[in-house]
Symmetry: C2
């Protein structure tokens, strides 16, 4: 190794995904200098292999099915979803996996970029190895922020590691739809990709030992299962015992029978991308999630921070970006000797990570939730009341689609009379959840929510129905 250069900046960010970009942006906007270190595409998984391509693969089929559920519109639809056109539209959102526009954004924002693999190599020091094996030593005056994200976790199924299954990256970037697709896993990636590929005419089989969407309210997984089955998806509560390559794809042994599929997507969880970033140099264990406090500072360090998936607080792009704003600003405040606002809902803490994380699954139907599920609230020791309502009974939903099926649940903290969590399942519910997020974060009392009148006839009238089911104040 030769040291090609030696660069001093205020803050080094390892990674250049959405979270890293936001950290660096806050640093620069605060008047300090920042460099991001990236060995892959600037913009990261979310832009190229997750949120954006995933929703692009789903949206066209979803909108077409929505129109088919309406008298007058259904009659106008005589053709099928054009899969090639959907894939082309997806390619436009990922800019054909070219990160020039994001590099331009970094330039415009005044953020330096070093291409290569970054490893912590000392106190406030990161050594970057480029693709040509040259190295650059970066030293930070104030802080280093690890934003390396996470990788898919491969389960220990006999034979699996000798095959080349699809990772979520392959599923979101495929340039054609396979005739058949096996999916191991029942989480967000599994159901979103099942929704997309089923709409492309692919024969999809989901193998999910614990059912779909574990961790959400039970009815979410049940309703998505029922709906995916209507789309032709075969869902089995089973674990494969063996996977082998065949000339035409994969042979999966499950429940004693052998399932043959052209492609196999493994989406069974995430592991921290921390095994080769020099964690041992700072006394941490490579391959572990990095534990941080609410200002995203690594426990025991005064200069090392971690934001996004790698800290394991909430593995979602929007939540990582939220952490990024807090960590960028707190590093600037600490560097300049400005006041640090680390009170419960202060500007320099990611408080919402604990109990107010929103999540949308763009499956058929959509699942949108925020805060604690009824089970999680119970487990956390809250005295709760759980209010359910059939979303299909709301006038706005019946107008939205003929035969609308949906459900809403609100979990109330009976002591403080504020909402702890809300889950919506149904067509087009993804935009309904922000109201719940604001109600929970704002700790708006239930009695006050009666004055937040939903417009008629929108689906948001579900709010009135949930409140009516809960009961009027004083009654």
């Amino acid at each position: 190794m030769t040291t090609a250069s030696d660069t001093h900046v205020d803050v080094i960010v390892i990674g250049a995904g959405a979270v890293a970009e936001n950290v660096a942006d806050r640093i620069v906007q605060g008047g300090l200098t920042a460099v991001v270190v990236e060995s892959e595409l600037v913009g990261g998984d979310c832009s190229y292999w997750a949120c954006m391509p995933s929703k692009a693969l789903i949206r066209s089929g979803m909108a077409l099915r929505a129109a088919k559920r309406l008298g007058g519109a259904a009659e106008a639809i005589t053709g099928e979803l054009d899969v090639a056109a959907v894939l082309a539209r997806r390619n436009s959102f990922t800019h054909d996996w070219d990160d020039q526009s994001q590099v331009d954004w970094l330039d415009g924002a005044g953020i330096a970029l070093v291409r290569g693999h970054g490893r912590l190599s000392g106190t406030k020091e990161v050594t970057v190895t480029s693709s040509d094996d040259s190295t650059t030593v970066l030293t930070a005056k104030h802080a280093v922020v690890v934003c390396t994200g996470s990788d898919p976790l491969l389960p220990g199924i006999d034979g699996l590691k000798d095959t080349q299954p699809w990772t979520p990256r392959d599923a979101t970037s495929a340039q054609s739809a396979p005739a058949s697709l096996g999916i191991i896993g029942g989480g967000v990636v599994a159901v979103e990709m099942a929704t997309a590929y089923a709409s492309f005419g692919t024969e999809v089989t989901i193998l999910a030992r614990s059912g779909l969407l574990q961790g959400q309210e039970d009815f979410a997984g049940d309703m998505v299962s029922a709906s995916l089955r209507e789309l032709g998806v075969d869902i089995r509560r089973a674990s494969p015992t063996r996977v082998e390559s065949t000339t035409e794809g994969f042979a999966i042994t499950v429940d004693g029978e052998v399932l043959l599929v052209e492609k196999l997507l493994v989406a069974t969880g995430r592991a921290p991308r921390s095994s080769d970033i020099g964690l041992e140099v700072v006394g941490l264990t490579p391959g572990d999630w990095i534990e941080v406090d609410d200002t995203l500072k690594v426990i025991g360090s005064d200069w090392l921070y971690a934001a996004g998936d790698v800290n394991h607080r909430a593995l979602l792009t929007h939540q990582g970006k939220y952490q990024a704003r807090a960590v960028g600003d707190v590093i600037v405040a600490r560097a300049l000797g400005n006041p640090v606002d680390d009170a419960r809902w202060g500007a320099h803490v990611a408080t919402a990570d604990h109990e107010v994380v929103p999540q949308v699954t763009f499956s058929e139907p959509e699942v949108a939730s925020v805060g604690l599920t009824s089970q999680a609230a119970e487990k956390a020791g809250y005295r709760t009341r759980v209010i359910d309502y059939n979303l299909g009974y709301v006038a706005g939903a019946s107008l939205q689609a003929d035969g609308y099926k949906g459900k809403a649940r609100m979990v109330v903290d009976e002591k403080r009379r504020v909402i702890l969590g809300v889950t919506f399942v149904g067509q087009d519910v993804s935009e309904l959840i922000q109201a719940a997020t604001i109600a929970i974060v704002g700790e708006v009392p239930i009695d006050r929510l009666w004055h937040a009148v939903p417009a008629y006839p929108t689906m948001n009238e579900i709010w009135l129905r949930l409140l009516e089911t809960y009961g009027r104040p004083g009654s």
Copy 2:
């Protein structure tokens, strides 16, 4: 006139529209007895001639156009909107203008119904004249609530009163689409019906002296105008000077030329339905809006209340239903001697009527707003900051539709650092507004809203963009 019967109840409600139904329901749930008096269909305008049929006429075309804006889905749509099927779907929502299901609901809720025209005839007394001219005298132990709603206002255009133009009722209940439709007016009804009929292939001309959607942020009317023009609607900032009937429809003299249309919809505002309800008996003026306090009690009376359009506070179904809950509960509280909660956001006042009224116009594009516009806030004396953002720049919107056009405005009270008003214009924004309503009603500080993380990639990320444009706390 013969007095057929004489009935005593706790509370008499004149009218049986959505507002009246909700008043009576709260009364009965509070343990008192209630009767509703109705000369038309139980369920009122909203169910049969406004919100429900209107949105039903619009929704199918809107969903079809949404699908056409997506690569992959557009290719599947080869036919046209089936107008007959849309009208049939609308008929199903209005139950072919049969109110039996609503009568059944009254029965189930324990609310008595007297069919006929109700007039105040004394203190706590209403005389009902039936279609066969028999009369019933109703006496209330506690209160009478006027929920008669409003009627369309016919402007004083030369010749107009000698023709038979469409009222909003005719437009929402038509059983076929005319070849051409003139619309006088530029408000919600005008743009919604223009959107619906333009999508049916009707040649639509709007005559709106002051442009579209007056009272909303200026850009709302501008964007809706541009979009309706793309749908083929002719929009003229002009007032007709004369209207005549012709053998084939209407001849409208406007700007010196004569416009010939098959049908003419007049939608230029509303007048209180109070000219023939005995207001003179209680010292009020027939034909006036009825002035009430925040508990919806008529000023100067201790037993007469008015809720919904007729009190002129906010002419919207959802806001009338909100008033209905307050007035129903306060009448019960006063009758039973229970505490009355008439503090600012108490259970017995309709506080939100003043500055937190949400409104959705289901036009192309949709307009969703709540609270004060920038102009109204200025006029009310607030020290404001106005934040604008292009909704099309939000990743979630770009996924929602190719070439997404939209705009958001947030009006902030700089003294209290809370939101006063929000307006969204764009495809599918109708469900976005409830979050703003909760933020305003909850008086959630701007700094706290940073913790209400919008899920990525939804259109609600507009919240993050608005906050970023406003500026981070401390920066």
